[in-house]
């Protein structure tokens, strides 16, 4: 019997496989396909305080091995989420993590303060890294100073552990990671999407209405593995790897590199059963290698 559980310090997950925010709806969209109870957890779609419409379409364009999205964080807002969706999510025995957004530091704090009153949430994932909501992909995670100020404010407001989701669109991600750690974040998730664009040669226009979008999918995995490697060797807090994970092998690459857990993103669109399949593949790998506890392979990269 292989023990797939991983301990992030502030929360114990039954296995290291989470579903990533923005690719898993509010979770319930996947209940026709998989047993949500099997997951380590899932991160629900980013929540602002009020409902939001999101960006103009076209919002999606596929590139080789990748997907560029400029969805722009549409959503039901924190009130409707708490009243209508969260009661449904509480029925599941898995970690529910809420991705928290804000147009200002104060909005992040007010979303967290509202959610503090609700039961059944394991942690908050602070989305300071969405490239699709401000001009030129601006977001707090591009600067150590902005990262520090939003994380420290949210930590003060939060009654729950906070995971800070970083942006890859920076020169030195270690600097931002250290800033978030100093501000008191309990964990880091790496990374949000890569600022990207695609061009239509017939119309000579950007394909996305937003011009820019965020690239995800298998194409980004090597870039993110490098970032996870750099960050885990400099921080003391747990790191969650996100980027191009669609198989047990992909997940293992992140765990071996030092991520304590992973989030599966774009692959959920392609095969809604991906998360559960990855968990099975991790089990098979451990059994084959005679590994009793999956935690023992975390950070075993030989360099």
């Amino acid at each position: 019997m292989t023990d797939l559980s991983v301990d992030l310090g502030f929360i114990k997950l039954k296995n290291p496989v989470l579903a990533a925010s923005g690719t898993f709806g509010y979770g319930l969209e996947f209940s026709p396909f998989i047993d949500l109870n099997k997951l380590g957890g899932f991160v629900v779609k980013g929540l602002y305080f009020s409902p939001r419409p999101g960006n103009l379409p076209p919002r999606l364009v596929e590139t080789p091995g990748g997907l560029i999205n400029a969805i722009g964080l549409p959503g039901v807002g924190v009130e409707r989420f708490s009243e209508e969706i969260l009661p449904e999510l509480r029925k599941y025995n898995t970690a529910i993590i809420v991705n928290v957004c804000g147009e200002s530091n104060e909005e992040y704090a007010s979303v967290v303060e509202r959610l503090n009153k609700e039961e059944g949430i394991s942690a908050y994932e602070l989305n300071i890294s969405c490239p699709n909501v401000k001009k030129d992909g601006l977001c707090p995670a591009l600067s150590p100073k902005d990262t520090f100020s939003v994380v420290s404010l949210v930590k003060k407001s939060s009654s729950r552990p906070v995971i800070t989701k970083l942006s890859p669109n920076v020169t030195d991600i270690v600097e931002i990671a250290l800033s978030a750690q100093e501000a008191g974040t309990d964990a880091l998730s790496l990374v949000n999407t890569f600022l990207a664009m695609a061009v239509d040669i017939e119309t000579k226009k950007p394909i996305l209405a937003n011009t820019f979008g965020g690239l995800s999918g298998p194409a980004i995995k090597p870039l993110v593995l490098r970032m996870v490697y750099q960050v885990v060797s400099h921080v003391k807090i747990p790191v969650i790897g996100i980027g191009g994970i669609s198989s047990g092998k992909d997940a293992l690459e992140y765990l071996i590199t030092g991520a304590k857990a992973v989030e599966v993103g774009t692959a959920n669109f392609i095969d809604p059963e991906t998360t559960v399949k990855i968990i099975e593949e991790l089990k098979t790998y451990c059994q084959k290698k005679g590994i009793d506890k999956i935690e023992t392979i975390i950070g075993t990269l030989k360099v």
């Binding site: 419409p53 596929e62 997907l67 969805i71 809604p272």
Partner: protein
């Protein structure tokens, strides 16, 4: 909504760049309604990455059909699949056309432009079996763009064909042909699927004559089941205009619900 990882390709027909696949998928076939669609995984490799949406073209017992035209890498690779191979499909997805007993003995018109004819065969199957008199307008650029003509004719459905170049049937746009014949046919309801400009015209014409109409919209889709929010169009519901997921709330909407995109200047 079922995931069938092994829907067997049991038949395949081809006319130039148009293809008709018959897939054995008993679970999906048993639930499918006209206007609904499936998401097809083209490759296990990372390219093409996402599934592709296809209207359900027909159902017969445990089989469903999809009809498509090669428009890019996904459809090109799909066209190369052979009888005996299987496809990983999700479906049936979305909400379909309004059909049912209320159409008994009524004249119903469906207008298909190009590959937009795809869902209208299933629709006409269903409408005929509920006792409606179905007339199909089928438009294409040229004669070769009307590959399903014989299939409809074989079923005894009255067809009104048009081609932009006049190589077959009425010369001109299918929407103009529809307008010219409308008074004579006097339909109780109109359904349409095709290029947006065509559907816009059908919307205009049916509105002027005050005939109810439904349209099947097309969009790039990330997942097909409501998780990605990528496929939105502007839809009016309860007096509010909202970016609405085509995959979940559509792809079929009534004329009153659709906010057509403005023509670019």
């Amino acid at each position: 909504m079922i995931k069938d990882p092994q829907a067997l390709i049991v038949d395949k027909k081809n006319w130039k760049d148009y293809y008709l696949f018959s897939l054995e998928s008993p679970g999906i076939a048993s639930q499918a309604l006209p206007g609904q669609f499936i998401m097809v995984r083209i490759s296990a490799q990372p390219q093409p990455l996402l599934r592709r949406p296809f209207s359900i073209h027909s159902k017969e017992k445990k089989n469903i059909e999809i009809f498509f035209q090669i428009t890019g890498l996904g459809t090109s690779l799909l066209s190369q699949k052979r009888i005996g191979e299987s496809l990983d499909i999700l479906g049936p997805l979305g909400k379909g056309f309004v059909t049912g007993e209320s159409f008994q003995d009524k004249v119903i018109v469906a207008v298909g432009g190009g590959r937009g004819i795809a869902p209208l065969y299933f629709l006409s199957q269903e409408l005929c079996s509920s006792g409606a008199s179905v007339k199909i307008f089928y438009g294409g650029k040229s004669h070769k763009d009307l590959p399903l003509k014989e299939k409809f004719e074989k079923d005894g459905i009255e067809l009104f064909c048009s081609t932009d170049d006049g190589s077959f049937g009425y010369k001109g746009f299918v929407s103009d042909f529809f307008k010219a014949e409308l008074e004579k046919l006097n339909p109780s309801c109109v359904f349409a699927c095709g290029p947006e400009e065509m559907m816009k015209k059908i919307a205009q014409i049916t509105q002027e004559k005050n005939i109810p109409a439904e349209f099947s919209l097309e969009s790039v889709m990330g997942c097909g089941f409501g998780a990605c929010w990528g496929c939105v169009k502007k839809i009016k519901k309860n007096f509010k205009e909202e970016w609405t997921k085509i995959c979940e709330e559509g792809p079929v909407f009534s004329r009153e619900e659709i906010i057509w995109t403005e023509e670019e200047k």
